[in-house]
Symmetry: C2
Subunit: 135 residues, 2 copies
């Protein structure tokens, strides 16, 4: 399951995507409209900024805004950033791979099955962007 943090991140990103031509948006504004705890949201947005998805401006008239066009930010990328692996097993993850101890990957049928699940999920998540989150 996606963490609450991830859900907040998507809500905030969707909100920013809807307003991506209107200049910076206040954290407090997002927090209020999307009912996300302010300080928690601060941390999340900062993280997304450091990851290159958002940018910000300080002082009056400042706030957060998308650094790229919503259609350029993949949902899979956001999940990996905020939530971690998409795969169901470490031995099957593309970005967070870890060898399975005491298990031969070549002959593990669970491995194969989880590769299938991963690919089915990625087929969707790699082809959807923040643009698809806008109503």
């Amino acid at each position: 399951m996606l963490s609450k943090k991830s859900q907040y991140a998507f809500k905030a990103l969707a909100y920013l995507a809807e307003r991506c031509d209107e200049g910076p948006v206040l954290i407090a504004d997002i927090s209020k409209k999307k009912k996300i705890p302010l300080k928690f949201l601060e941390n999340i947005l900062l993280e997304l900024k450091k990851a290159g998805i958002l940018d910000s401006k300080k002082g009056k008239g400042g706030g957060y805004f998308l650094k790229k066009d919503p259609s350029k930010v993949k949902v899979a990328h956001v999940i990996r950033l905020v939530n971690g692996p998409i795969a169901m097993l470490p031995c099957v993850s593309l970005y967070f791979y870890e060898r399975c101890k005491d298990c031969n990957e070549k002959s593990c049928r669970l491995h194969d099955m989880m590769v299938e699940v991963r690919d089915a999920s990625l087929n969707i998540l790699e082809n959807r962007t923040l643009k698809d989150l806008i109503n």
Copy 2:
């Protein structure tokens, strides 16, 4: 990601599925061969028994064994039992549904997307069984 408990459960179930015509298998045997902490495995197997997947016999000649044919036990069912929801969001889960607070499901595009991911995953996991875990 699947918990270690889930991974252990699948290893144990695969082991039992391979030996489903050979009578009861000792917990200690599974623990040793699959390198699963003994006491942890005890708890897991007991849980699977209570869920109706396994049965057991006490005393000499006892042990655990599959209650049904391996081809009758769906992978999706085991995941839900041991790991919990398969869906990425509570508002999209079939067996662990929870309403999304402060979010209108009808107009939430993330919701739609996660329904797609869920169905893509279930399409695989509901159609694979313990039999598919045997080499």
